[in-house]
Point group: C2
Chain length 342, copies 2
DNA sequence: TCCTGGCACTCCGCCACGACGAGTGCCAAG
DNA sequence: CTTGGCACTCGTCGTGGCGGAGTGCCAGGA
């Protein structure tokens, strides 16, 4: 069956091109793979694959190079995700288990991912909106100054200052602390916000009006919970891997460097990945940024239901997809596990 | 006086080379500057400057390029730090005033610095050892589980968990809180550590032995205060400016990318800068890393006595030193001011 | 003593040329 | 449908000539 062989040819071309970084010709192909046919036959297949848009030639009479469409077919149908070796798994879990707090988990993950894939790694900080409230603490720094500490399930801690109109006695502070914790602890952020706001809503007739202090504290908490600034935070690592690109500075390195500066861009690149549990691959011009048409993104969600946040890598379209996908998947799993334990 | 003119020639060469990025010849020099002498005279001066090691020629019969020694002389004696314009000052203070917390200050600073200098900017997080303790809070999360929150003068907040042997009553908790705050608040970290350890030292005969809870809390606090991990944190920005280097990828961009990955390297580069109040310039091979012999570091300390931490930029030796030094100095001043206010 | 104009020289960067070779497309035969 | 052969294309690489920018040196002048 020729159709099958054609796909085998495409797979072989992708693999060779990824490892040699040079257009691959028919002769080299039959030498490196056991295809059982002659170069001439391969040439016919290549011509057909080019006709269908899976391959292209840099110049007449150079070898063939996969197109985005070719990589897409390869990723979707021709490759199987390589399982990580036991040693790699041990290295991953050993490296991540040493993390002491959320920041550390994220930083270690991004370095790990960069090291495993030898690409630029991106890890999004856990999304605020997916977290639940673990605890709220109120600390009197001064008679009219309160430190409000918000501790989330992901280990994130936010602190704000609240200025009060008047001094607050210790027992009043304790009562207030109990009330806000009762309302918010264990709730998802959105529900916690609603519950807190209910505390200060004009109660039914006869109930006591909410105190000024309560309002102030609730305001600060709601503001902290609504502050999606940190939703937009990402850690980036492995920029040194950009140096390996060597050629194609302008088409690959420059736009990537610019993207790294723009966290918004990185988030958007990762964005699609949190949907669905599997590793997402965006190849070349499939994405929203034409400057990044020479780069691919391999990403996935992590955390409970893989919906807490996303992590992944950005690299040239010419990359080892099976290996990269395996690494991204493995790191996401271990990060999810580590976060779950803490 | 020829000696004076020679220095003027060196200054002119540095300025022209920085702006054109090309070796500068004698003819171009007399055209662009009012030196009042002929190219031939300039040639003699250039030959003398080269003899003394301030200039070098890429090839026979190309123009001259400053050596590290030439830049050094330029920086030390021939340049005056350009004052920032009023508009720039407004932009800086406006940009930094919007910061909400320490993280934000650092992040904004690094972006600001990268933007002003169009170089890679590096800002070290405030050093733990230079901070004082603002407040310690103890929060009972569970009967035998305490959240210990350490708030520092720089706005940094560290939190740790302490596990207790037995339950602690509210009033006991309050007493413990008072004791640790009394001992540590307002103290520099080193003194705070000593004061806390004094609390649990076997007191003179007759005094009550320190409780298990006290020991546990002090242990956790001392550990948090001794954790110099975050002393080693830096924020990096403006990596996209590397793209402007264009040529000299291997000599400049690659080692810099690698340095950016290695925070230790960045810290060491900034390290020397915290001594003394002025802006420090390290040119080319003057520094400890020969891979970075094509780059210069312009850095200074910030915070009280400029000793809290350091910030600066890393760029090619061929850079606008006066402008860069002005920007680094200005940002450091504003950051110090902002931190002082909060 | 120092500056200046002139002049020969060096050497880089650029371009055109030609040989080489890898790789292709096509065709006719198996 | 596969295969070997063959002519063709085109990029790469080394060669050599040319122009120009820039230099060093020297002799004459202030």
């Amino acid at each position: 069956m020729q159709e099958e062989r054609r796909l085998a040819v495409l797979r072989a071309i992708v693999e060779d091109y990824v490892s040699t970084e040079e257009p691959v010709g028919s002769k080299a192909l039959v030498e490196r793979h056991q295809l059982g046919v002659s170069p001439a036959t391969i040439r016919n297949d290549m011509a057909a694959l080019e006709e269908e848009g899976y391959l292209t030639q840099p110049h007449t009479s150079a070898g063939r190079v996969p197109t985005d469409k070719g990589y897409r077919l390869f990723v979707d149908r021709l490759s199987t995700v390589k399982p990580m070796s036991a040693a790699e798994r041990r290295a991953i879990s050993g490296f991540l288990d040493g993390a002491v707090d959320l920041d550390d988990v994220v930083n270690r993950s991004v370095r790990l991912l960069a090291q495993l894939t030898r690409q630029v790694a991106v890890v999004q900080y856990p999304t605020l909106s997916r977290s639940t409230v673990r605890h709220i603490e109120l600390v009197a720094l001064a008679p009219t100054r309160l430190l409000v500490v918000l501790i989330l399930s992901t280990g994130r801690v936010e602190q704000r200052l609240a200025e009060l109109d008047g001094a607050l006695a210790d027992d009043e502070l304790g009562a207030l602390r109990s009330r806000v914790n009762l309302a918010a602890t264990g709730e998802v952020i959105a529900d916690a916000v609603a519950a807190l706001q209910a505390l200060v809503r004009p109660a039914e007739a006869g109930a006591p009006a909410p105190s000024r202090a309560t309002s102030a504290v609730v305001d600060v908490l709601v503001e902290a919970m609504s502050d999606h600034r940190s939703d937009e935070r990402v850690a980036v690592g492995g920029a040194a891997n950009l140096a390996r690109y060597g050629d194609s500075f302008d088409t690959s390195v420059r736009p990537l460097l610019e993207a790294i500066e723009e966290q918004v861009v990185l988030l958007r690149l990762l964005g699609e990945a949190t949907t669905g549990g599997a590793v997402t691959v965006r190849i070349g011009a499939e994405g929203p940024y034409q400057e990044l048409s020479a780069t691919s993104v391999v990403a996935t969600g992590y955390g409970p239901d893989d919906a807490l946040a996303a992590l992944g890598i950005v690299g040239p379209t010419r990359m080892d997809y099976p290996g990269t996908m395996a690494a991204v998947r493995a790191v996401a799993r271990y990060v999810s596990r580590v976060l779950d334990e803490s």
